[in-house]
């Protein structure tokens, strides 16, 4: 934010001739929006902090779980496999993203495009196979 302000200041200090073609002023509404977005929670939380009454009871300090007493720790450990699957998913998800634009101009790229894409997919297949062999897909 400080940089933004600084840029703004610098831009303003430019001679008027330059101002007309300095489109940074188009961003002023965004900066104002940004300021409001920061100020709003600060003000709301600050006000409530100033006004509220503090009560420290056991019930009050318990995590809120629809009236039911909490069981165990909230910071539960998940199996690392979730992450591996998530990462693999991400990889192939991104692959598909790359496939879309390629598919759109497929005929213009012709054979060259096909080969390139095969190389790209080939690399991913290698990774996929590696993950498979290393047992990343097994759930046990």
């Amino acid at each position: 934010m400080i940089q933004m302000m600084a840029i703004l200041l610098q831009a303003q200090s430019r001679p008027p001739a330059a101002q007309s073609d300095a489109p940074i002023f188009g961003y002023i509404p965004i900066i104002i929006f940004f300021l409001i977005a920061v100020l709003l929670p600060v003000v709301l939380l600050g006000v409530s902090r100033l006004l509220h009454r503090r009560v420290f009871e056991r019930e009050k300090l318990m995590p809120y779980e629809c009236g039911i007493d909490p069981i165990g720790d909230a910071r539960e450990r998940f199996s690392v496999r979730f992450y591996i699957v998530a990462m693999l998913f991400l990889v192939f998800d991104v692959e598909v993203v790359f496939l879309f634009p390629w598919a759109v101009i497929y005929d213009k790229l012709a054979l060259f495009g096909l080969v390139e894409m095969l190389i790209f997919i080939g690399i991913l297949v290698v990774g996929y196979y590696y993950a498979w062999r290393k047992g990343a897909l097994e759930w046990a």
């Binding site: 400080i2 940089q3 600084a6 840029i7 610098q10």
Partner: protein, 668 residues
């Protein structure tokens, strides 16, 4: 071809160093000698076959090995140069070196670490040849340090003996002082002239001497010239290097102690070759010296003083090798005397002849020592001539040569030096006369102490029979015999080199018979040869031309008379009383070692313990260190907040740094 001359001994050293441990003595000797033999043959071929056919003023053969350093204006090449000066050096270095190698194969038989000895010796040959063949001062310095290292290793060859270790250390430290001066001189020379090369060469590198030879570049003995860095300073700094390596006053003390090394080492390194490197360097830089008259005078005076002082000490020594060591120091003084009076060629000529007769004398003494079963004290010798005929005969040749008996090699070179110093016009009025008188006195003493050595060793009563074994002798061998069987002649591997060198000692002088002496019948080859490689003081040439030969004849006559007086007087005196007690002052070597001990070593020790240790170290440095430690601890405490090990505090540091940086960039 030139590179082969230096690389073959290196290859020998590497082979012996890596695999020598597993070889037999015969094999080791074969490798060591054959590599030097190859070098010798190549040297002779390069000198006579390639260099001499060239016209007089173009006798230079360059060979670039590789470009070593080339940074900005500083350029140093690993390149070799063969010119008359280096050519003459490689001739006798390889030739004498080869025969000493041969001698050593016999001398070192049965020694612990035979391979190590020859590996070092080959490495020495390599370094010495690099020193001589280098075509710039920096590469020369590499060889210079290399021979120093080999000298250190070989003096300390019997590393289980304390005295050998001490001697090695002494040599090394004293040489460091000299090398420091040399290095400073080198830097100054480069700074002033922008080059470290001897000559302009085909690669388009200018010569360092061009600056020195420039008109107006010559400087008188003004304060600024000496202390603010001029030719005189450079010349003196380089001379400091020469003083160290060539054992001149005041740094000569290491050379006699260096005799703790095996005798072939003494012959090769501490008589014939390495110690003359100083003379070589001064002659190389003759262009600088002739333009720095003050430096010339200092060189001459130091040389003459060393010659005289060492000769007087030599008279009073009992150890046969010590006598020869002081004799070497004395002869080196002669060579510097020659350089100082501007007679560089005469100096080099003396180096050349000296290499033969001094190597011969050392090897002869080695032969005697072996024959006497590791006895070095002349008081326990005598009458050896009938036991060791060859050794005796060859040593007589060396004796006559060094004493300056006419027609032997030493006569020609020494006479030349005396004559040149008498007629020198490079120095002011009283100096030539003074220097000549000192030189003549030295010549007399030389004849006396050499006669004493010969008489005590080979003539007189056979004292080794009556002498009971005493413990104080410094044998250079790990085992001294407890009994004294009759002395016996050494094996062929030792006598053959003696004979060869004896022939050299007789004949080497004829290469440089002074022209006046022979009436021009025999031309002075050495002088003509070296002419283009050496600079002459401007006036000297005219002076020489103007001089008629009568002076030379008179001076020669005086020299001859001196030599004979010395020999006959010495003979009569020592024949009668071989065990004459010389003055204590001389036997104690003027107590120079003791003086150094009292003036330098003890004060340093005292200052070290009393001041440096007790006050500075304990109080100030420890205090400061503790203080610094406290400070560091405090800084550390401060840093601990930063280096807390918590990733989030690291993030804070990074963010603060980033904000500062960005703020600076944006706001300026």
């Amino acid at each position: 071809m030139l590179s082969a001359i230096i690389l073959v001994p290196l290859a020998g050293a590497i082979i012996l160093g890596l695999a020598g441990r597993r070889m037999g003595e015969r094999m080791i000797g074969l490798i060591a000698c054959s590599t030097v033999a190859v070098s010798t043959v190549l040297s002779f071929y390069m000198f006579f076959g390639r260099l001499l056919p060239l016209p007089d003023d173009a006798r230079q053969i360059h060979e670039l090995l590789f470009t070593w350093i080339n940074v900005g204006s500083f350029r140093a090449d690993a390149a070799l140069l063969l010119d008359p000066l280096s050519g003459l050096y490689i001739l006798f270095v390889t030739f004498v070196g080869f025969w000493i190698h041969v001698f050593a194969t016999g001398y070192m038989r049965g020694e612990e670490g035979y391979w190590r000895f020859f590996a070092y010796l080959n490495l020495f040959m390599f370094s010495m040849l690099v020193l001589v063949l280098a075509d710039n001062f920096l590469l020369m310095f590499v060889g210079w340090e290399g021979v120093g290292l080999c000298s250190y290793l070989l003096i300390g060859y019997y590393f289980t003996k304390d005295f050998a270790n001490d001697a090695a250390k002494k040599a090394f430290i004293v040489n460091r002082i000299g090398d420091f001066g040399f290095a400073l001189g080198l830097m100054l020379l480069f700074w002033k002239s922008g080059s470290i090369f001897y000559f302009n060469d085909p690669r388009g590198i200018p010569s360092a001497f061009e600056w020195a030879m420039k008109p107006g570049g010559a400087d008188p003995a003004t304060f600024s010239a000496i202390f603010a860095g001029g030719l005189t300073t450079i010349a003196l700094l380089l001379f400091v290097g020469a003083i160290g390596k060539s054992a001149q006053i005041p740094l000569f003390v290491w050379l006699p102690d260096a005799m703790a090394g095996p005798t072939p080492v003494s012959a090769l390194i501490h008589a014939a070759t390495m110690v003359t490197a100083g003379v070589y360097m001064v002659s190389r830089a003759s262009s600088i010296y002739v333009n720095a008259p003050t430096a010339m005078l200092i060189v001459a005076v130091v040389g003459a003083a060393t010659a005289l002082v060492a000769a007087t000490i030599g008279i009073a020594q009992w150890d046969i090798k010590k006598v020869l060591a002081y004799s070497t120091v004395s002869q080196l003084g002669y060579m510097f005397l020659a350089c100082g009076v501007g007679a560089f060629t005469a100096g080099i000529f003396h180096v050349f002849t000296h290499a033969f007769f001094k190597a011969l004398l050392f090897l002869g003494s080695g032969s005697v020592i072996i024959g006497m079963h590791h006895e070095q004290d002349m008081r326990r010798m005598g009458g050896l001539k009938k036991y060791m005929r060859i050794t005796c005969a060859t040593m007589i040749a060396g004796w006559l040569a060094i004493s300056g008996v006419p027609l032997f090699s030493g006569f020609f070179s020494k006479d030349e030096i005396l004559y040149k110093s008498f007629t020198s016009s490079a120095l002011h009025a009283p100096w030539p006369m003074v220097l000549w008188i000192v030189g003549a006195m030295t010549a007399l003493l030389t004849a006396v102490y050499m006669t004493r050595l010969m008489v005590l060793t080979f003539w007189g009563s056979e004292r080794f029979k009556e002498a009971s074994h005493s413990d104080d002798h410094h044998s250079d061998h790990a085992h001294g015999g407890d009994h004294h069987p009759a002395p016996k002649e050494s094996p062929l591997s030792m006598t053959v080199p003696l004979i060869v060198l004896a022939l050299g000692a007789v004949a080497a002088g004829y290469l440089g018979v002074p022209e006046g002496l022979s009436g021009g019948a025999i031309s002075n080859h050495i002088e003509h040869l070296l002419e283009p490689a050496i600079a002459h003081p401007a006036e000297t040439n005219h002076a020489l031309a103007a001089e008629d030969h009568s002076t030379e004849f008179i001076l020669t006559g005086v020299s001859v008379v001196i030599a004979f007086i010395g020999i006959i007087g010495g003979w009569l005196w020592f024949k009668r009383r071989p065990l004459w007690q010389p003055p204590r002052l001389l036997e104690g070597k003027y107590y120079v070692d003791e003086a150094y001990d009292a003036a330098i070593i003890q004060p340093i020790k005292t200052v070290s313990t009393r001041v440096l240790w007790k006050i500075i170290d304990v109080t100030i440095i420890d205090g400061a260190v503790n203080g610094a430690a406290n400070l560091a601890a405090r800084v550390g405490d401060a840093m601990r907040y930063l280096q807390s090990g918590l990733a989030r505090s690291y993030v804070v540091v990074v963010v603060v740094g980033a904000l500062l940086l960005i703020g600076y960039f944006v706001i300026r």
